[in-house]
């Protein structure tokens, strides 16, 4: 067996172990996602219109919820990772396996992507269920959706590792969530598109181009609702890949220094 095949095999076996562990909690995660998505969609579809908001906005928010659900999973993955570092350190076992250590951490990225991505898939059918006639799949592109969904999930895995690498203690997780994750999400296209921001505050829109969440958010809306009104799909794809590599690289390096592994 060649070295790369042998690495792939260990990598795959580590992922399979994670699937096995995830399988036991998947029902809970799907329930959590349903509750999060339902509350959001119901509010925007049936309550906010009373205050004058159009139902189109509910569709807009519902599509973004796919990404929001994966995004907020970062909090729980960071919590699990830090708890492990402060407790049983199962990671130490992985770091003594016949697999280069950067691949062990890459495995975490892929694993987090699956953990966050799988339950989020329920969001779109749920949106259709609640919004029915208001939600049309006329402009839906399965190819674009698959590409941006997979890339977004991997980006979240990479971002999650980066965030985790910056948290030194369990007590910091709440601070990171409120001071860092929340503003990124709030200005990252969860409640308005980049072009909406550009319309009212062009400078802020330009600054927001360094917000890594804007690209998955815009990309998923292009895939479901069509291109007009959003950042070009290919720009979204390229920038999502760019941020995935950037945060993955920084996260792995930071953890390499912190865990002092070979």
């Amino acid at each position: 067996m060649t070295k790369s095949n042998s690495y792939l095999k260990v990598f795959w076996e580590l992922l399979k172990t994670d699937f096995y562990v995830y399988r036991q909690s998947m029902v809970d995660w799907v329930i959590n996602t349903i509750i999060w998505a339902s509350c959001t969609i119901i509010s925007f579809a049936y309550i906010f219109p009373i205050a004058g908001m159009t139902k189109d906005f509910a569709v807009f928010v519902a599509v973004g919820t796919v990404i929001s659900c994966i995004y907020w999973d970062i909090w729980s993955t960071s919590y699990t990772f830090i708890a492990d570092l402060e407790g049983e350190r199962t990671i130490d076992y992985s770091l003594t396996l016949p697999l280069p250590n950067y691949l062990v951490l890459t495995k975490y990225i892929v694993s987090y992507a699956i953990k966050g991505g799988l339950p989020a898939l329920i969001t779109l059918p749920l949106a259709k269920l609640f919004l029915w006639n208001s939600m049309s799949f006329h402009n839906f592109s399965i190819l674009k959706f698959t590409i941006i969904f997979l890339l977004s999930a991997i980006f979240m895995g990479s971002f999650s590792l980066f965030i985790t690498s910056r948290i030194s203690r369990m007590t910091q997780i709440e601070n990171i969530g409120l001071r860092f994750l929340f503003p990124i999400w709030f200005f990252g296209g969860s409640n308005y598109s980049w072009k909406m921001i550009e319309g009212v505050a062009p400078t802020m829109a330009k600054i927001n181009l360094i917000n890594p969440l804007i690209y998955p958010m815009e990309g998923i809306r292009v895939a479901v609702l069509g291109q007009p009104g959003y950042i070009n799909f290919f720009v979204c794809v390229l920038m999502t890949i760019f941020f995935t590599i950037l945060f993955g690289f920084m996260g792995i390096n930071k953890l390499k220094n912190r865990l002092d592994f070979v």
């Binding site: 042998s6 095999k9 399979k16 096995y20 407790g87 049983e88 199962t90 130490d92």
Partner: protein
């Protein structure tokens, strides 16, 4: 004539904290022989865990060499990892999986065939008296059983060297004695064992040679019998206490 399995040459590990340099290991050189149990002794902070984690390839040294055969372990670290087993101080098993599954996963990580894994797991579960808990999840196990599972996991792939980092810490005396039997079994199978411990009776009973570390340096390395004879003491504990009172040469 003892054949060295591992040669450690001038191994250093420094930690840098603001303006302070902590020398966890400061120029350690020693040979670890095939099929021996080498006991690593020392007070807290002596460098025992640092040395064992460097040998387990968990952390890199600041300087120095670790040779396996005649080749540096860092030349092909992943193939070296297939030849060692590491049993950490804290049980780091997968709590969502059963004991048996933990062992099966470990076998797969080391590239064993499914049929081989099955045979090996059955054999080890029997040998380490784990049958009763094979289908239990690790969090229900007592400390002693968790350590046994860790020990079993570390030898699933038939390594040549097993590194045990304080395997009996915090365990009841009778459980410690059971684990001692398991450690002796490893030696009888031809496995070299590096045993880090705080318990002097444990080191004396199990070790072929004892290496006493102090402030990152080796103070003494010899058989328990020779150490007792040189220091004219009946117990290793007395040797250790006297040694700690003396200033290093």
């Amino acid at each position: 004539m003892h054949k060295p399995l591992i040669k450690i040459k001038n191994l250093k590990k420094y930690f840098y904290d603001k303006n302070k340099t902590v020398k966890a290991l400061d120029g350690i050189s020693l040979d670890i022989h095939e099929s021996e149990i080498l006991g690593l002794l020392g007070v807290n902070g002596a460098g025992k865990t640092t040395l064992s984690s460097i040998l387990a390839t968990l952390h890199p040294p600041t300087d120095g060499e670790v040779l396996f055969g005649d080749q540096s372990i860092y030349k092909d670290i992943n193939s070296f990892r297939k030849k060692i087993g590491f049993c950490p101080q804290k049980p780091n098993l997968i709590n969502h999986s059963t004991v048996k599954q933990n062992l099966i996963f470990a076998g797969r990580y080391f590239g064993l065939e499914e049929s081989e894994i099955k045979t090996r797991v059955d054999e080890l579960v029997e040998q380490f008296d784990l049958s009763k808990y094979a289908d239990s999840k690790p969090f229900v196990l007592s400390g002693g059983y968790k350590q046994r599972v860790l020990l079993t996991r570390s030898i699933i792939h038939k390594p040549k060297l097993v590194i045990l980092d304080e395997p009996t810490v915090g365990l009841d005396p009778h459980i410690r004695h059971q684990l001692w039997e398991n450690i002796r079994d490893l030696k009888s199978q031809g496995i070299t064992v590096i045993l880090t411990t705080h318990y002097l009776d444990e080191a004396e009973t199990l070790s072929d040679r004892i290496c006493i570390l102090d402030k990152g340096k080796i103070r003494l390395i010899d058989t328990p019998e020779n150490l007792k004879s040189v220091y004219q003491k009946s117990k290793l504990e007395d040797v250790f206490i006297q040694l700690m009172k003396e200033e290093p040469k």
